[in-house]
C-alpha cells in the first residue's frame, strides 16, 4: 500500500474515533463550543484528506456530515439524540468505507446506494433555509473594492471638482469608496458623521444603494447609503481614520488626469498604457523591451501576477501594510527574475520603494498592469514575442513546464513517509506506527533471539573441530554481548507494545449508550484508570471479554428506571470500569449497582442444565454458586437477547482471559450489584514450543532449546554404563527416556520400523536426546507459571492454555536433566 494511503487510513481511524468521543461528550454538554469546534475540524480534515484519493462517495458522505456540523457550529442546529444517532451511524458507514479502502484500495459500487441514502438523511436534518440572514452576513464578510469606473466624478458639484483639481495640483489625491454595512447603525456608527469629519475632504457623492419605494415597512435603520469621496489627506492618515471599518472602505489614489478625464487609469492600463500618470510614471519607467505574463502561454504565472495585482486593490490595516507589500514584492521578484532578468528585478525594487514613499500600492499596481496580458494584445507584438521567448529560455525556467518529479498523487510517494511521520507528530513527541510494523519487528527480534543461540555451537565447533580455543573464547564473549542486546531489544519491543487501557475503554461509552437506549435503561458509565498500560496483546484481547461483561451488566444487571425507583435506587444506573496496576499485574474491575446475582436462581439453573448434581446442589455455598456462571454452557438469560446473547457465555470470557494468563473473580450482592475483577499480566512472554507426545499426553519443549528432531533405530541405541547413547552426526549424544524424566508409567513407543522419536536439545552447552512417543506441531503459547499444588512440581517451566482449551505443560529440560 502506498504510504500516503496508509497515512490516510491511520488518520481516518484516528479522526473517526475522536469524532465518536466528541459526539458523546456533546450529548452531555451540548453547548461545549470547544468540542463542537473539534468535531467540525475533525470532519473537515477527513473531507480534505479523502479528496486526495479517488473516492468520491466517501468524500460526499463526509461532506454531508460536515454541512450538518457546520450548522451546529453556527448554532443553527442543536445537537440532540436523533442527530447524534444519525452522525454515529454515518461514522460507522464511513468506517466501513475506510475498511474497504484499506482492504482493497477502493470502495465497491454497492456502497453508492447506501451512501446516497445517508446523504439524503443527513441533508434532511439540515435546518430550514435561513439563507436570507446568512447571505446578508456573508455579503459583509467581503471587503469593499474600488469602483470599476469613475462615473461618480461627474456627479461632483462644479465647485467641488474645481477644489479637487486644485488640490490635485498640490499633491496626491485619494478617492474612497465607503459602503457602510447594513447593520452599522446598531453598532453605534454614523457614516454621515465619519464623512463630515473626513480629513482633507474635498468633495463627496452620496447614493442610495436601493431606491426607497415608499413602502410603509421601509427599514430606516438599515443603512442604505453608499459614499464616494475625494480627500487630499495622505492615504495613511485616511487608512487610520477608517481603522474601525477597514473592510467597508476602499481607498485608491486619484490622479489629476483621472479627475480630468473621468477615467480610472489603473483599470484601463492594459489597453492604454500611455495613460500612466506622471507621479508614478517616474517610479515605473517603461522598460525598453517589453515582456509580458501571457495567460495563454503560462497561465499559472500570469494568474499569480494577476492575483498580486488584485491584492494591491485590497485595503491593508496599517500594521500589516508593509508586510503585505513585501510579500507581494517577494512573490513577484521570483517571477520577474525569470521573465525580465536582473533589470526587471531592479525595476521592481524601485517600484516597491516608490510604494513605501507614497504609502500607496499604486505604483506597483501600475507596473503590473503593464506586465499582464499576451503579446498579441500589446503595442509591439514582434518585440514582445522575442523578449518573452528569450526570457523564458535564457533562464531555463519556463514556468508552464512542470518541474521534475511532478507526477500523479497516487504514485508511490516513497521516502516521504519517514520524514513526515517523524515531524508530523513531533509536537506531541509521539510516533504513529502501523501495528504490522511493530509486529514485524517483534518477529525479527524473536528470530534473532533464536539465531544467536547458534553462536555457542559455533564456539564449541571452533574449539573442538578447528582446535582454536582462542576463537571459541572470543565467540563466547561476543555471544554474551549479543545476548544482552537481544534481551534489551526484547524488553524494548515489549515497552513499545504497551498500550493504555483507554484504547479499549474508548469503545465503551458508545456501546453502553447504544445498548442502554435500546433497552430503555438509564446508565452512567464511569471509566477510571484509562492510562494504565499493558501489552498490546493483553489490551486487545481484553476488548471482547469486557464488552461481553458490560453487555451482561446492562442486560441482566441493571434494572429499568421504574424498577430502580421502586427499589429506592436512583433512576440512573451506574457502571464503573476501573483499571489499575498492581505489581506486575493489571486489575480491571467492572462494577454495577444493579440487581446482583441471585444464587438460588443460579443453583437451580446449573442443576437443570446438569452442571451440578443433586448432592452438590445441596452443599454448594452461595459464593461458590455464583461462580457457576463461568461454567461452560451456562446462560442465565431466559431468552437469548440480541444484545448480550451472541452465543457465548461467561465461560468464553473466562477462557479467553485465561489464554492470556488472566483470571476472573466475581462477587455479587443481591439487590446491590455485581463486581467482576479481572487480573492480567502486564506483558506476555510468547514462547514458541514444540509439542511432543508421551503416554498419550502432550508436552511442550521451548523451541530455542531444540536442535533437531530425529528418528533413531533401536539398533543404534547403545547402553554405556547404564546410560543410553546414540551416535548422531558423528557425535555421542546421551539419550533420556521421557518416561524416566517425568516418572511416567510407560516407556516410549517405537514406530513400525522400530525407530524411536528423539528430540535433540541443547542444555547447558551439552547436546542431549529425549526419547518420546512422537512429535506434534510447534505453537506459540503464553507461558504461565504453575500455581497452587502444581507449583511444587519440578521440571516444568510452566503451563499454557492451548487454543482448544486444553492445558499444555511445558518442560524445563535443564531442571529435568539435572535431576536425572
Amino acid at each position: 500500500m502506498n504510504p500516503l494511503l496508509q497515512q490516510f487510513i491511520t488518520d481516518a481511524n484516528d479522526i473517526l474515533e475522536r469524532m465518536g468521543q466528541s459526539l458523546l461528550a456533546l450529548e452531555k454538554r451540548p453547548d461545549d463550543e470547544a468540542v463542537i469546534d473539534e468535531l467540525f475540524r475533525a470532519v473537515h480534515t477527513l473531507k480534505g484528506n479523502s479528496g486526495l484519493f479517488d473516492i468520491p462517495i466517501f468524500t460526499r458522505v463526509v461532506h454531508a456530515a460536515e454541512d450538518l456540523l457546520d450548522k451546529v457550529r453556527d448554532k443553527a442546529l442543536a445537537i440532540d439524540n436523533d442527530l447524534t444517532d444519525e452522525l454515529l451511524d454515518s461514522m460507522d458507514f464511513i468506517q466501513r468505507m475506510v475498511e474497504m479502502v484499506e482492504a482493497s484500495g477502493r470502495i465497491p459500487e454497492d456502497f453508492t446506494d447506501e451512501a446516497d441514502r445517508r446523504i439524503e438523511r443527513l441533508k434532511a436534518l439540515l435546518p430550514e433555509d435561513l439563507t436570507g440572514e446568512t447571505e446578508a452576513e456573508e455579503e459583509w464578510t467581503e471587503r469593499v473594492l474600488p469602483p470599476e469606473n469613475l462615473a461618480w466624478l461627474a456627479r461632483l458639484s462644479d465647485a467641488d471638482r474645481a477644489a479637487a483639481s486644485e488640490a490635485a495640483g498640490r499633491g496626491a489625491l485619494t478617492a474612497l469608496r465607503y459602503v457602510p454595512e447594513p447593520e452599522c447603525f446598531f453598532k453605534g456608527e454614523d457614516p454621515l458623521l465619519l464623512l463630515r469629519n473626513l480629513p482633507g475632504r474635498t468633495g463627496f457623492v452620496l447614493e442610495l444603494l436601493e431606491p426607497y419605494g415608499g413602502a410603509e415597512d421601509t427599514d430606516i435603520y438599515r443603512c442604505n447609503i453608499g459614499i464616494h469621496a475625494v480627500s487630499s489627506a495622505p492615504i495613511a492618515e485616511l487608512r487610520d481614520y477608517f481603522r474601525y471599518v477597514p473592510e467597508q472602505v476602499a481607498l485608491y489614489p486619484l490622479t489629476a488626469e483621472a479627475l480630468e478625464t473621468g477615467e480610472l487609469p489603473v483599470f484601463t492600463a492594459v489597453n492604454s498604457p500611455q495613460t500612466v500618470p506622471d507621479a508614478v510614471g517616474e517610479a515605473a519607467p517603461r522598460p525598453a523591451a517589453a515582456w509580458y505574463f501571457d495567460p495563454h502561454r503560462e497561465p499559472l504565472a500570469a494568474e499569480i501576477v494577476a492575483t498580486q495585482r488584485r491584492l494591491l486593490d485590497l485595503p491593508a490595516s496599517a500594521d500589516q501594510w508593509d508586510g503585505r507589500l513585501q510579500a507581494i514584492g517577494n512573490t513577484l521578484a521570483a517571477l520577474f527574475a525569470a521573465h525580465g532578468g536582473p533589470e526587471a528585478v531592479e525595476e521592481l525594487k524601485e517600484t516597491i520603494a516608490a510604494c513605501r514613499r507614497e504609502e500607496s500600492f499604486l505604483p506597483l499596481a501600475f507596473l503590473l498592469e503593464t506586465r499582464l496580458g499576451s503579446e498579441e494584445e500589446q503595442a509591439s507584438p514582434a518585440e514582445a514575442d522575442v523578449a518573452t521567448a528569450t526570457a523564458t529560455t535564457a533562464n531555463g525556467t519556463a514556468p508552464s513546464d512542470p518541474p521534475d518529479g511532478a507526477r500523479p498523487a497516487d504514485d508511490g510517494i516513497g521516502d516521504g513517509l519517514r520524514g513526515a511521520a517523524d515531524s508530523a507528530d513531533r509536537a506531541s513527541r509521539v510516533l504513529k506506527v502501523p501495528q504490522e510494523k511493530v509486529d514485524r519487528l517483534m518477529d525479527l527480534i524473536g528470530e534473532m533471539v533464536v539465531a544467536k543461540n547458534a553462536l555457542p555451537y559455533l564456539a564449541s565447533k571452533a574449539e573442538e573441530v578447528y582446535g582454536s580455543r582462542e576463537l571459541a573464547r572470543e565467540i563466547k564473549a561476543q555471544f554474551a554481548v549479543i545476548n544482552r542486546i537481544a534481551e534489551d531489544m526484547q524488553d524494548g519491543i515489549m515497552q513499545v507494545r504497551m498500550l493504555p487501557m483507554s484504547s479499549v475503554f474508548q469503545r465503551f461509552p458508545r456501546l453502553v449508550r447504544d445498548v442502554a437506549r435500546q433497552l430503555g435503561k438509564k446508565v452512567r458509565l464511569v471509566l477510571e484508570g484509562e492510562d494504565a498500560e499493558a501489552d498490546k496483546h493483553i489490551v486487545e484481547s481484553l476488548g471482547d471479554p469486557l464488552i461481553h461483561i458490560l453487555r451482561n451488566s446492562l442486560d441482566h444487571g441493571l434494572e429499568t428506571p421504574d424498577v430502580r425507583v421502586a427499589a429506592g435506587k436512583p433512576e440512573e444506573g451506574r457502571i464503573l470500569v476501573r483499571a489499575s496496576q498492581e505489581g506486575d499485574r493489571v486489575l480491571i474491575e467492572i462494577e454495577d449497582d444493579g440487581k446482583g446475582i441471585d444464587p438460588a436462581v443460579i443453583k437451580r439453573k446449573a442443576f437443570e442444565k446438569g452442571l451440578i448434581d443433586e448432592a452438590r446442589l445441596e452443599s454448594i455455598s452461595d459464593t461458590e454458586a455464583i461462580q457457576l456462571v463461568f461454567a461452560p454452557g451456562f446462560s442465565t438469560a431466559e431468552t437469548v437477547s440480541s444484545l448480550s446473547g451472541r452465543g457465548v457465555g461467561m465461560d468464553v470470557v473466562k477462557t479467553s482471559l485465561e489464554k492470556i494468563g488472566g483470571q476472573v473473580r466475581l462477587t455479587s450482592e443481591r439487590g446491590r450489584g455485581t463486581r467482576i475483577v479481572l487480573t492480567l499480566p502486564l506483558s506476555v512472554a510468547v514462547s514458541n514450543v514444540l509439542m511432543v507426545r508421551m503416554n498419550g499426553q502432550r508436552y511442550g519443549v521451548p523451541m530455542d532449546m531444540v536442535v533437531e528432531t530425529v528418528r533413531v533405530p533401536r539398533s543404534e541405541i547403545h547402553v554405556i554404563k547404564d546410560r543410553r547413547v546414540a551416535v548422531l552426526r558423528g557425535r555421542i549424544v546421551p539419550l533420556f527416556g521421557a518416561d524416566e524424566l517425568l516418572s511416567l508409567p510407560e516407556p516410549p513407543i517405537a514406530n513400525g520400523e522400530g525407530e524411536y522419536a528423539v528430540l535433540v536439545a541443547r542444555v547447558d552447552g551439552a547436546t542431549v536426546g529425549l526419547i518420546v512417543d512422537g512429535f506434534a506441531q510447534t505453537t506459540d503459547v503464553i507461558l504461565k507459571p504453575l500455581e497452587g499444588p502444581l507449583a511444587a512440581l519440578a521440571g516444568f517451566a510452566g503451563s499454557a492454555l492451548l487454543g482448544d482449551g486444553s492445558v499444555l505443560l511445558v518442560l524445563d529440560l535443564k531442571e529435568l536433566m539435572h535431576a536425572a
Binding site: T45, G323, T397, A406, L417, A420, A424
Partner: protein, 123 residues
Amino acid sequence: MKSILIIDDASTVRLYHRSLLEEAGFHVDEAVNGIEGVEKALSRTYDLFVVDVNMPKMDGYAFLREIRRRKEIHQSPAVMVSTEAEEKDRQRAFAAGANFYLVKPTKPNELLEVAALMTGGRA
C-alpha cells in the same frame, strides 16, 4: 535549496505536500497549527508558506495576519490551500495576506509549479 513551511493540522495533507515538494528538491518543514508556524517562521527564513485554513489554536488567516504584521519575519509569499473554491473564500485568504490560493486537493503539478514560480525556480 529553497525551503518551504507547510502549516496544516492534517498529517495526511502534510505528508502529501511534503512528499511532492521534497521529491522536487525543496527543503520542507511542517507545523501543525498557526502558532507553531509562527514559531518556525521566526527561527529561519522560508521561501514559501503553504497554509491550511482550518486549524486548531491559530487558523490560517490568523497565521497570515500575524506573519504580515511581524517585521522580524522575512515576508515570504504564502499560498493558502483550502477545500473551498468559492470567491468569498479566496477573498478572505487574500485579505488576510495570502499571495495565492489553491483548492484542495491540490493537483501535484499545480502545487509544484506554483512553488517553483513563487520561490524562483526549481527548489
